[in-house]
Symmetry: C2
Subunit: 305 residues, 2 copies
C-alpha cells in the first residue's frame, strides 16, 4: 500500500525501464517531465513530433542522453504512430504532449488501429494529503461526464485494476455522495444503492465496496464513529468513486490547490496506461503521473494482465 | 473582509447581543455550543424543549446564567413556538437542536406561521483554510439538491446577501464546474454560461460574477496565469456557487476533513438566519455558526434589510 504519492519515486527504482511514446513532444514542460523520469532511469522515451523543435528544446535544456525521435507534424498521424507502436508491442506507455486531448483519444478508441482494451476508458487520480494516512484514488474527475450505473461499474473496475497493480490486494472502494442514506431525490445515492446491492448479491473477491457516503464518512474515522456508521469501507477508503465529472474534479482540484495534495493521474482501460497531464498540472504532478504509469504497467505485467 | 472564520470571534465583540431560539435544545452538544456563545456575551438564548432534560444538562455542565426555557416536547409545536417568536420580533436567530431537519424546515416555510422571506432558502457555508488568503463562501452543499438556473440565481442572491452583511461591498462570485469553457455536454457549464450571459446584459451593482470555472481557476492565481484566463473573479473568488448538492458537499467536507478548514454555516432566506448544524460538525463549527448568524443578523439590521 502506498503511504504517499511520493513513494512512487522509490518503487520505480526496482522496475525495469518502460518505453514511453510521447505524442507531440515538442513542448518544453512535457520534455522537462520526460527528462526528469528518464534521469531516474525508469523510462526510455520515443518522442513523436516536430524533430527540429524537439531537438532545439533538448539543446536549450541541456538534456542528457539522445532519445529516439520520430518526426511527424500531423496530429492524427502522430497519434497513429504511437498506437502502432503499442500494437506492435514496442512501447509500454503513451503520453500526451502538445496535442488536443480529443484527437489523441479518438486515435486510442479507433476501431482499426486503436488500443482500447476494456469497455470504458477512465481517469484515475491519486492524491496524498499532508496529515491523511492513506493515498486516495479518485475517479473520474477528468473524463467521464455523467456516467450511468453501468459506466460507474466499469469506472470502479478500472480503478480497482490500478490499485491491484500498485499492490493493493483488497482496496476499499467508497461511493461518494452528499449523504449516507439512499434518497430517491438524490440520484448519486440511488446509483450507489444499486451498485452496493449488486455487489452484496455478487460479492467481489478482490475489493470491498460500500456507499453512498459523504466525504467525511469516507476519510474520517471520527466522523464515522460520531454517526454510528458500520462499514468496512467507511473512514478508511482507498478509492473514491464520484457521482460525476464535476464532483470528481471538485475533489481532486480542492485537494491539490487547497490541501497541499501531491497528485498523479493516468487513463486506464487501454492496452497501456496513458499519461494525460494538462498545462495546469505542476511539473511534479507530470513526473509522478509518468511514474504511476510505469508502476501500473509493471504491476499489470507481473499480475499477468 | 474576513481573513478567517475565526475572525468572527472578534467581530461579535462589538455587537449588541442577539436573541436565539433553540428548537429542541435538550442535547448536550447543542447546549455546549449555545453556552460557549453566551459566555462571549453575544446571544441571549431561549431554549425550547424538554425542560427537565435541559435543566439536567445545564446542571451537569455547570453552565452559568439562567436561560429562558419554554417547555415543549412536541417537535411541530416547538417549531411553531420559535416561528411565533420570530414573527413577534422577539428573537433574532433560530437554531436547530435535537429535531429532525425536515420538521423544522416545514415550519419555516409554513404559509400560516412560517418565516420565509425570500423565494428560496439556501445554505451558505464559510470555510477558511490554512495558507489560503481568503475565506471561501460555498453554496449550496447542504440543502438544494439539483437547483435549476433560476434557483441558482436565488442561491447566488442569498450568498451575496450574507457577504454584504459581513462587510463585503463587492464580493466575487464564481460558478464552479470542472472546466472553464461552456460545453453542451456538461450541464453545469451550460447553466453557468446562461447566468453569466444574463449578468453581462444586466450587470449587478453589488457583486462580480463569472464562470464556469474549475476550482483551481477560482482559488489559484498561478493556475489562472498558466491558463491565460482573464476575469475579475478568477483566482480571487469569495463565493463559490456549486453545480449541485453533491458538488458543494464534496467541496465543503473536503476542505474541513482533509484541508484543516475551519467552517461555519447558516441557512439564508428566512426572516432571521437559521443555524442548522449537524452532529458531525465539531463544537467549534457549531459555535462559529452561531457567531455567523449573529454577525449576519447585525449586518442586515445595519444595512436596513
Amino acid at each position: 500500500m502506498l503511504k504517499s504519492v511520493g513513494d512512487l519515486v522509490n518503487i520505480v527504482k526496482t522496475i525495469h525501464p518502460k518505453r514511453i511514446a510521447v505524442v507531440f513532444a515538442h513542448d518544453e514542460f512535457v520534455i522537462d517531465a520526460v527528462h526528469e523520469a528518464a534521469k531516474l532511469g525508469v523510462i526510455k522515451p520515443i518522442l513523436i513530433g516536430d524533430q527540429q523543435m524537439i531537438n532545439s528544446i533538448i539543446r536549450e535544456k541541456g538534456c542528457q542522453g539522445s532519445p529516439d525521435i520520430i518526426h511527424c507534424i500531423d496530429p492524427e498521424e502522430a497519434t497513429k504512430i504511437a498506437m502502432d507502436l503499442v500494437n506492435k508491442g514496442d512501447v509500454d506507455i503513451v503520453m500526451k504532449g502538445l496535442i488536443d486531448t480529443k484527437i489523441l483519444l479518438k486515435g486510442v478508441v479507433n476501431k482499426d488501429y486503436g488500443i482500447r482494451l476494456y469497455p470504458l476508458l477512465s481517469h484515475v487520480g491519486l492524491v496524498s494529503i499532508p496529515g491523511h494516512p492513506r493515498v486516495l484514488f479518485a475517479s473520474d474527475g477528468a473524463m467521464n461526464i455523467q456516467p450511468s450505473v453501468e459506466e460507474k461499474r466499469l469506472i470502479i473496475e478500472n480503478a480497482v485494476l490500478l490499485a491491484h497493480s500498485l499492490g493493493y490486494s483488497m482496496p476499499k472502494v467508497g461511493l461518494v455522495s452528499s449523504v449516507e442514506k439512499v434518497n430517491p431525490k438524490i440520484q448519486s445515492t440511488v446509483d450507489a444503492g444499486e451498485i452496493v446491492q449488486y455487489s452484496q448479491a455478487n460479492p467481489p473477491k478482490d475489493f470491498l465496496i460500500d456507499g453512498p457516503f459523504a466525504i467525511d464518512n469516507l476519510v474520517s474515522l471520527e466522523s464515522v464513529k460520531h454517526k454510528g456508521i458500520r462499514s468496512p469501507v467507511a473512514g478508511e477508503c482507498d478509492i473514491l468513486i464520484f457521482p460525476n465529472l464535476d464532483g470528481g474534479n471538485i475533489f481532486y482540484k480542492t485537494t491539490v490547490f487547497l490541501a497541499n495534495g501531491i497528485s498523479a493521474g493516468i487513463i486506464i482501460g487501454a492496452k497501456v496506461p496513458i499519461v494525460l497531464t494538462s498545462r495546469a498540472d505542476s511539473s511534479q504532478a507530470k513526473l509522478y503521473s509518468i511514474l504511476l504509469a510505469v508502476v501500473n504497467q509493471d504491476g499489470l505485467l507481473i499480475a499477468g494482465h
